[in-house]
């Protein structure tokens, strides 16, 4: 791994260059470029079917692009597996909570800490006897306010608590960048507001690429917003710039108002 210090201070932590992906005749990503700089929240919005999921899958490493590159912390990671990208510092949360349901809250967090430490092939010492791991996991749980529920099984958590746990597991990785896929999905108003507050502080630890439908959250949090329509980024700018962009209003908000999805 390269030392982050060798990179120029303003260099982006995560960068996508000219990414393209097609499924047969359907072009899901068309020459997409975007970056994530230290300390920022960069929101990615777009109507349904715009190609957000395909883009996330390519950034996370679940899907290989036809063309283009993905860079993380000054390293090209385009051909890397999901796990390798995670080890290189990309922490993602899932749109639909993706946790080990039969394990406890603590065990899920410890799993993250274990992944971050990278030494999984340990066959004898009990994992919950490893103080360094457990402390790291507990710290992450405390950060999201789940420390009192550590002994509960995930299956017993509420939906909102599971979303919090998703974030906590990402935290245990001490990542260079967060990739968050609709963290607000399914949360009530008060839940969203609490998580918004939390994410606001989180950008200090690592920048966040935030894919989100909740426009209130996006405009409250994002330093920059990119708009994806029909597999293309049609605009990038501050919240205010995006709000005022005519193309965005036509393509995106038009659809929101009940129009046809952009092909």
């Amino acid at each position: 791994m390269t030392e982050p210090m060798t990179e120029p201070v303003s260099a982006p932590v995560l960068e996508v260059r000219g990414l393209s992906k097609a499924f047969g005749a359907l072009v899901a990503s068309r020459n997409i470029s975007l970056d994530l700089r230290p300390g920022e929240i960069h929101a990615l919005i777009g109507p349904n079917g715009a190609g957000k999921s395909t883009l996330i899958a390519q950034i996370a490493g679940e899907l290989m692009p036809d063309r283009g590159e993905v860079w993380l912390g000054g390293q090209e990671v385009t051909g890397w597996s999901t796990a390798a990208r995670a080890r290189a510092g990309l922490a993602r949360t899932f749109q639909i909570s993706s946790l080990a349901m039969e394990m406890t809250v603590l065990q899920n967090a410890v799993l993250g800490a274990l992944g971050a430490r990278g030494k999984v092939m340990r066959f004898f010492a009990p994992v919950l006897g490893d103080r360094a791991l457990v402390e790291r996991a507990m710290a992450a749980l405390e950060a999201v306010g789940l420390q009192d529920l550590a002994a509960l099984r995930v299956a017993e958590l509420s939906h909102g608590q599971r979303r919090q746990l998703e974030v906590a597991v990402a935290l245990t990785l001490a990542p260079k960048a967060f990739l968050m896929d609709e963290p607000m999905a399914g949360l009530g108003t008060s839940g969203s507001r609490r998580l918004t507050g939390f994410l606001d502080g989180l950008r200090e630890r690592a920048p966040i690429l935030l894919i989100e439908h909740d426009m209130d959250a996006v405009f409250a949090l994002a330093d920059r917003v990119s708009v994806l329509v029909g597999g293309e980024i049609i605009a990038t700018g501050s919240a205010a710039e995006i709000r005022g962009d005519a193309r965005v209003q036509e393509a995106y908000l038009g659809e929101e108002a009940g129009g046809e999805a952009v092909p």
Binding site: A83, R87, T172
Partner: protein, 328 residues
């Protein structure tokens, strides 16, 4: 952790498995000791499969391969020792009748084969994984049937049970004690393993593969290691089983054997450390008693199995302990 009641059920199981042959020793019922030995050995095979199947979620329909390789490791080594022919002519390596050496060879050989089969099979998943492991089993089965050097379908008889330093293994109870001790040791080992980082990650790989990848852990290596270990344990059981019968044959490789090892795991409770012990004990009891009642006893066995799958998903241990599986 596992729940207090489950711990108690487990302890009772172990105590029972020890008490029955002790009683048989007192009552001079040597065959009961043989039955108990069989339970211990088959349970061991099941513990092996359970590591892959229960903890790792790898539904292997080919564990007979490892059972058979363990058996043949014993058969081949002892065959050369009893006939005073060298095992490998060129190096004049002799066979052996020593159990510890045989065990080591059985474990290594089956681990090696499991590593190769696992490395290939784990490229697939789901039904394909079930079927490709079955295919490997069939390959070994037909190979041993038509391979003349070690008896082909006739198999090999070993006239005297192999030896263990300081123990007369011909005494049924002594051989039971050896098998029981090995079962205990492996249970302890697997129990540790399930609580260790490896076990946590393996269990997570079964429950949610995407989650595991997202925290930077590649499931393939985990699963391959689990499959290899699982094969090695089942291989050890195979060597013991061959010694119990003083006989090996290709039927150890048959798909029915794979199915039966699976049945032990399911009857007892998938993913529960002691599930295979309970399952093997129940299976042997059924075979022994139902077999005496009717020559069509397979019908009853089938009905019982069906009942367990449909209505008692935690298996025997699940019914007795009454809790969900605790994965820790």
């Amino acid at each position: 952790m596992g729940g207090r009641r489950e711990t108690m059920v487990n302890a009772l199981l172990l105590a029972g498995l020890l008490a029955v042959p002790l009683w048989a020793l007192w009552a001079d019922e040597p065959f009961t000791i043989t039955l108990a030995t069989r339970v211990a050995i088959l349970a061991l095979a099941g513990v092996g499969l359970n590591l892959a199947l229960g903890t790792g979620g790898l539904v292997s329909f080919g564990h007979a391969v490892f059972f058979g390789i363990g058996g043949y490791a014993m058969g081949i080594l002892a065959f050369h020792a009893q006939n005073y022919t060298p095992l490998i002519e060129a190096l004049s390596i002799p066979g052996t009748k020593s159990m510890p050496v045989i065990w080591a060879v059985a474990v290594l050989a089956s681990a090696l084969v499991a590593l190769v089969i696992g490395a290939l099979s784990l490229r697939t998943s789901g039904v394909y994984f079930i079927m490709i492991t079955l295919a490997f089993g069939q390959m070994f089965y037909y190979f041993t049937i038509s391979w003349p050097a070690y008896g082909g379908e006739d198999g090999m008889s070993i006239y005297l049970r192999n030896s263990f330093p300081g123990v007369n293994t011909l005494v049924p109870f002594n051989f039971f004690a050896i098998s029981y001790a090995l079962l205990l040791a492996v249970l302890l080992l697997v129990g540790r393993l399930m609580r260790a980082p490896f076990g946590l990650a393996l269990s997570a790989a079964r429950q949610n593969e995407a989650r595991l990848r997202a925290v930077g852990i590649d499931p393939y290596r985990l699963r391959l290691s689990a499959f290899t270990l699982s094969g090695a344990i089942t291989g050890l059981a195979g060597a013991l089983y061959a010694d119990l019968n003083r006989f090996v044959s290709p039927s150890m490789f048959s798909w029915q054997t794979s199915g039966e090892i699976m049945v032990f795991v399911i009857l007892g409770g998938v993913g529960r450390l002691f599930g295979p012990v309970a399952g093997a004990a129940l299976f042997i009891l059924l075979e022994h008693f139902l077999g005496g009642i009717s020559e069509y006893w397979h019908i009853f066995l089938g009905a019982l199995l069906l009942g367990v799958v449909l209505f008692a998903r935690g298996g025997l241990i699940g019914m007795l302990a009454g809790e969900e599986v605790a994965h820790d």
